[in-house]
């Protein structure tokens, strides 16, 4: 499983100074926090139950798994549902360019587990799950043994797939099925794990929730922007390394990244921006959305000057096409065609009309999957066509900006791609 993230063999230490914004991560990077160290740093939760849902709403906490959906909306929806209910902490982190959930589960596992207990209790769930990469299962299991939780927590291993953290794939896997996206006319908060109303929150979201339960919404809003309060974990991918750090929302990007030709924001379903444009922006969706970008799960991936944005994008799109669950016709048919066309654009002297073909297929797959995989893939592709227009013309003349064949963006080895049902377990 460690082969799925060649650039992050071990959980990444937050090795960059976080500028005083450390909240969910321990202020001193290093060993995993045991229960005693966790309570010494964070104290006990003071706000619970329905009052906690109100506090989360007042805090303005949004999901840190990628969609930035208001956390209190999901909490309230499951709290209002009747019958047996389930809460799941989502630490699948299938995104190869993200290591923040791994870092959080390694450094502050008890904060996440506190958040899961508090959220499960607030919605009235009788059972809880932690869904994560098998590499983290051992340490987290030891942490669970240290605790005396009221609501039992079961560990479920997430398949090492790009899509395994997608909510319906999670619900399917936790129910004992394959970790594949499913289609339903109901939401997971209505019918999720084994048909029960299910709360799914990213592990980092739960860590913030656990801190709101201690310090309150006013404290939470002391960092970040009025529209997007708090801090967020980010993974910076540069020079073949991944660095996880915690930053206030609204932090100037120029204080986090400096050099490069372009930066991919939000991960492999994200958006390329030229470095010059990115350096004028701040780390929040309000600023990024004006440039068609979004923070996603907090990935920043640098394209170095000596690399080619088309080659890097083609590598990632090939990976994304292979990681398609292959269940929906437009994704099954469209993504491989887009991947092959992007590979052609990444090579010397692509045929005329290839860009137009990519644009046509991009339009054809958008909004037509059971999950957002085609839409996210197309977002990346379209941003590459926008940002690397000069490179496309260079390739048409038989030239290329790359001066090395060394890949810049992290990807699992080609033989780790899914072939059979077992790959989704």
């Amino acid at each position: 499983m460690s082969g799925t993230r060649p650039l992050a063999q071990a959980p990444t230490a937050p090795s960059r100074p976080a500028g005083g914004s450390t909240r969910v991560l321990p202020p001193v990077p290093g060993a995993a926090e045991d229960l005693r160290a966790h309570y010494a740093r964070n104290g006990q939760a003071r706000c619970r139950g329905p009052a906690l849902i109100r506090a989360v709403r007042e805090a303005g906490l949004t999901g840190r798994g990628g969609a930035a959906f208001p956390a209190h909306v999901k909490l309230a929806a499951v709290a209002q549902a009747g019958g047996r209910k389930v809460a799941v902490a989502n630490g699948a982190e299938g995104e190869p360019a993200s290591a923040k959930d791994a870092a959080l589960l390694y450094h502050a596992p008890h904060l996440v587990l506190d958040g899961l207990q508090l959220a499960a209790e607030a919605v009235g769930a009788a059972e809880a799950y932690l869904y994560t990469d098998p590499r983290h299962a051992g340490p987290v299991e030891r942490c669970l043994a240290e605790r005396a939780d009221d609501i039992p927590v079961t560990l479920v291993e997430a398949p090492p797939r790009f899509l395994s953290g997608q909510e319906t794939a999670l619900a399917s896997r936790v129910s004992g099925g394959l970790g594949l996206p499913t289609f339903s006319f109901a939401r997971v908060s209505e019918r999720g794990v084994n048909g029960a109303p299910t709360l799914v929150q990213n592990v980092e979201t739960l860590a913030h929730l656990a801190l709101i339960a201690r310090h309150g919404p006013g404290w939470f809003r002391r960092k970040g922007t009025p529209a997007e309060p708090g801090t967020t974990l980010i993974t910076i991918n540069a020079d073949g390394h991944q660095i996880v750090t915690e930053a206030e929302l609204g932090t100037p990007l120029a204080s986090l990244i400096t050099d490069g030709a372009a930066v991919l924001i939000g991960g492999y379903h994200g958006t390329w921006l030229p470095m010059a444009a990115a350096l004028t922006l701040t780390l929040d969706n309000q600023a990024l959305s004006r440039h068609h970008a979004a923070l996603g799960a907090g990935v920043l991936a640098i394209l170095p000057h000596h690399a080619c944005g088309l080659i890097e994008t083609a590598r990632v799109v090939r990976y994304l096409a292979a990681e398609s669950a292959g269940q929906c016709g437009p994704c099954l048919n469209g993504l491989p065609r887009i991947a092959v066309a992007m590979a052609e654009l990444a090579g010397p002297q692509p045929r005329r009309g290839t860009v137009q073909a990519v644009e046509r297929w991009a339009g054809l797959v958008t909004g037509r999957g059971a999950c957002h995989h085609p839409d996210g893939t197309v977002r990346l592709v379209r941003s590459a066509l926008r940002v690397f227009g000069a490179e496309i013309r260079r390739h048409a003349e038989g030239r290329c900006s790359a001066t090395t064949s060394h890949p810049a963006l992290p990807l699992p080895p080609a033989d780790a791609l899914p072939l059979t049902d077992e790959d989704w377990q």
């Binding site: 990628g66 969609a67 899509l163 953290g165 997608q166 909510e167 319906t168 794939a169 996206p181 499913t182 289609f183 339903s184 006319f185 109901a186 939401r187 997971v188 269940q327 929906c328 016709g329 437009p330 994704c331 048919n333 469209g334 054809l364 037509r368 999957g369 059971a370 999950c371 957002h372 995989h373």
Partner: protein, 74 residues
């Protein structure tokens, strides 16, 4: 009540029957999978929409109130 046609894209295997019986509402893409015209089904086409739903051999089509949305995330 306004109704919309919704496809379960996992169940759909691209038989193309829906596009044959309701060409005003459904058009096949270049791989034979249906593209449903977005928005509510006009009242005059409701019969055709119901026929498309009934024709689908894998029951992948549904006619449902426009306010409901399918679960899509991630």
């Amino acid at each position: 009540m306004t109704l919309t046609l919704r496809i379960d894209p996992i169940a759909c295997t691209g038989h193309g029957a829906c596009a044959e019986v309701a060409p005003e509402l459904i058009e096949p893409d270049e791989w034979g999978y249906p593209i449903v015209s977005p928005g509510p089904v006009p009242a005059r086409l409701e019969r055709a929409a119901r026929k498309a739903v009934a024709t689908c051999p894998v029951l992948a089509l549904r006619l449902q109130p426009a306010s409901e949305r399918p679960s899509r995330s991630g």
